[in-house]
């Protein structure tokens, strides 16, 4: 049973090398000398212009069918494109959720009308989504969601509050998880997903500033918000299954190992060409970790492409990946003396400071460390 977790070897497709070179050339042209403090924003960097430029290159919706504006490339090609973007700290945040989660959700469960309407806009880099899952009393325990959608003439009326909604203030739509019926014995029943236009009357978006004083999160309050019948996603009451299948894709991508990459690059720069032994050992250790994590993450991508759903393996990658991401700033500061300051002129200090203030979120967003380890333990047969 020692190999209860399966990490198949994976070979990148032959097209990957050319794609990688194209992405690097694009990044040089788009970003130029992109400051380390900006790179450290990783996938929370928000730029509609950049998203539209990516859309024009065919790097959003890469693996979707062409009839919905996609490009029918492989999941591994998408992986290569994505890891190049993240390693460069490119501002991919605007279309991020739509490309990674909302679009794939609609592809799997959406109606033909929904797919035809939303997917081409997402693919063009013009249409952004946010996710309305967490609530003030429903964080890790999604089944505790209380926001309620009640049937009315022609659709649904929604009341409740969603929280930690990244980019709700920039996005056009939200994928809302709401209660439409009783939870049942397993607590997983009675949840449904909807596409909500964020300009609908009765919907209020309030900023929640994060540790860095930045505005990414929001509280979204629904007061008698009308959602048309045609905006239910999938089946009424099938929300739990739809959401959990979505999470497996969210947990193992390159974004779970590269959030602190800007710090790592600046650490290598600050260490210089001939560091002392202590610095060399630490750099080597971090290298061994990130290289191995990348192979694990790629392996999960390969299995997803092969139609295997490696949810336990995805949990392993996210647990180890976020541990690593959080270690990077701690180790960096132990090697290179500095007093952290946001917006510093020094690249190392700027990247370190931004990442330090963002690091606590790494092991909370997308499933807390404790939840993930519970999933791993279940994979071991312990629960």
């Amino acid at each position: 049973m020692g190999q209860a977790f399966r990490f198949d070897p994976v070979d990148l497709p032959p097209e990957a090398a050319g794609l990688r070179a194209d992405v690097r050339a694009f990044l040089r042209e788009q970003l130029g000398e992109y400051p380390a403090g900006r790179r450290a924003h990783s996938w929370s960097g928000f730029s509609p212009e950049f998203s539209q430029a990516m859309g024009r290159r065919g790097w959003i919706a890469m693996i979707w069918p062409k009839r919905y504006g996609g490009h029918e490339r492989s999941a591994l090609e998408r992986y290569v494109m994505l890891e190049e973007m993240l390693a460069a700290g490119a501002p991919v945040g605007a279309h991020w959720v739509a490309d990674r989660q909302s679009g794939p959700l609609l592809l799997r469960f959406g109606t033909e009308e929904q797919k035809a309407f939303f997917l081409p806009k997402i693919a063009a880099g013009d249409c952004y989504f946010c996710i309305g899952m967490s609530e003030p009393d429903s964080g890790s325990d999604l089944a505790a969601a209380r926001t309620r959608a009640v049937r009315v003439e022609g659709g649904w009326r929604v009341n409740g509050t969603k929280i930690w909604t990244s980019n709700a203030h920039h996005a056009h739509y939200m994928i809302l998880l709401a209660r439409t019926g009783e939870a049942g014995d397993d607590r997983h029943g009675g949840l449904s997903q909807f596409i909500v236009d964020l300009k609908t009357p009765g919907l209020q978006i309030r900023p929640i500033l994060d540790l860095a004083g930045e505005h990414h999160f929001n509280e979204v309050v629904f007061e008698d918000v009308f959602v048309p019948e045609t905006r239910l996603v999938g089946t009424e009451g099938g929300g739990w299954q739809q959401v959990t299948s979505e999470l497996a894709f969210e947990r193992s991508g390159p974004e779970r190992i590269l959030s602190a990459f800007a710090v790592l690059v600046e650490l290598v720069r600050a260490a210089g060409p001939a560091p002392d032994q202590r610095v060399a050992v630490a750099l080597g250790r971090l290298t061994a970790h990130i290289a191995t994590l990348r192979r694990m993450s790629l392996s999960v991508a390969g299995m997803l492409q092969a139609g295997i759903l490696p949810d336990k393996e995805a949990a392993v990658v996210k647990d180890l990946g976020t541990l690593f991401e959080q270690e990077v700033p701690e180790i960096a500061r132990s090697l290179i003396a500095c007093e952290p300051e946001l917006g510093s002129d020094e690249a190392f200090v700027a990247a370190l400071s931004r990442t330090m203030l963002y690091a606590p979120s790494f092991s909370i967003r997308g499933g807390t460390r404790e939840i993930l380890r519970g999933i791993i333990a279940r994979g071991l047969g312990l629960r």
Partner: protein, 361 residues
């Protein structure tokens, strides 16, 4: 790919059966007390598992690096007290330079990068071998040693047979022989010497030793995780199996993560061996990463086993004492981390990502 993995499933299955039959407590205890497990070794030789990568014409199995990985990993998993990786490495050295590969368990020297043997011309014809090497695995049991020695005209591979040198016995924490061999003018016939081929030197041998130990550790981690998960399901305290407690589950999840990372790092190293990739980079990553996983995994295995696992009677220690030994052999984590770090630093910040993705110029 699927045909290959099917063959490997078959190989893994037969390896598991062979080691389960041949490696048990009496064999392990006898090996630690100084009795070489000849029945186990014969079974391995008969099954053609000792020289997987040597062509059939030279007495090998004509297989791939992946066969070697499966064999060494299974040997590590079962704590097989035999020099399997060492025999594979000796076979590789001897085959690469065209020397004959003797039957039986083999070993290699030197195994530490700072040690060196010298070969010089003997007055009466032939050569003489001089020098002292330490920590030689199964030095006392090896039917022959494949030795790297420096001669005035370059590096040589020397086939050394037992006798004629002084041996001081020593052991690692798992009781595996790690002997000191002293050569004082040992007479070597010309037929036992060949120039080391290009790419075969002390560093290459040391690196391959590190990769082999990593594979053994990956196997030992997998098995120790199995033991520990099973024990957590069987041992009850406070009216329920300890594996039901979240505190224990979280520890086992960490153990599983470390084991998975170790397995992936080792796979990558053997992929590089098979495909002729950047083995210096990927091999160093494997030993550094697996060594770290070994320490964490062994600690959690013992914590979950409680006092039971601390006894000599419980089988857990056959794996954990090996993990604690193997992580320091052929270079500890810090050795390979430093090598990696120096390479990264010398290449510079802009070359870091290309190095990681194997797309450096």
């Amino acid at each position: 790919m699927s045909e290959m993995s099917e063959n490997h499933d078959l190989l893994r299955h037969s390896l598991d059966r062979l080691f389960t039959q041949q490696v048990n407590r009496p064999v392990l205890e006898a090996a630690e007390a100084g009795t070489f497990p000849t029945a186990l070794w014969s079974a391995l030789e008969e099954a053609g598992l000792t020289l997987p990568m040597v062509p059939a014409e030279q007495g090998g199995a004509g297989g791939t690096a992946f066969d070697a990985l499966a064999i060494v990993r299974a040997a590590g998993s079962h704590a097989a007290p035999v020099p399997l990786p060492e025999t594979m490495l000796a076979g590789w050295l001897l085959w690469a330079c065209g020397l004959k590969i003797p039957a039986g368990p083999l070993s290699i020297a030197p195994v530490r990068p700072e040690e060196n043997l010298t070969l010089s011309a003997n007055a009466g014809g032939g050569f003489r071998l001089d020098g002292r090497v330490t920590r030689i695995p199964w030095g006392r049991d090896a039917r022959a040693l494949a030795v790297l020695a420096t001669a005035p005209d370059g590096l040589k591979v020397v086939l050394v047979e037992p006798g004629g040198f002084a041996l001081t016995p020593a052991r690692n924490l798992a009781g595996e022989p790690r002997d000191t061999l002293t050569f004082t003018g040992l007479a070597v016939k010309p037929g036992q010497v060949a120039p080391a081929p290009a790419g075969v030197d002390g560093a290459a041998l040391h690196l391959r030793g590190a990769v082999m130990r990593s594979a053994q550790m990956a196997g030992a981690l997998e098995r120790s995780l199995d033991f520990t998960v099973r024990y957590a399901g069987e041992r009850s305290q406070f009216g329920r199996p300890i594996g039901r407690f979240q505190a224990v589950q979280q520890q086992l999840a960490i153990f599983a993560g470390q084991t998975a990372a170790a397995g992936r790092a080792v796979d990558a190293a053997f992929e590089a061996l098979a495909a002729g990739g950047d083995i210096a980079f990927v091999g160093a990553i494997a030993k550094a990463r697996v060594g770290e996983a070994a320490g964490q995994g062994a600690a959690i295995a013992h914590q979950v086993h409680g006092a039971m696992g601390f006894t000599r009677e419980h089988a857990l220690h056959y794996g954990t004492r090996r993990l604690w030994s193997w992580r320091d052999e052929f270079g500890a984590e810090s050795y390979w981390q430093e090598a990696l770090g120096r390479r990264i630093a010398a290449a510079g910040a802009e070359a870091f990502w290309p190095l990681l993705t194997g797309t450096a110029d």
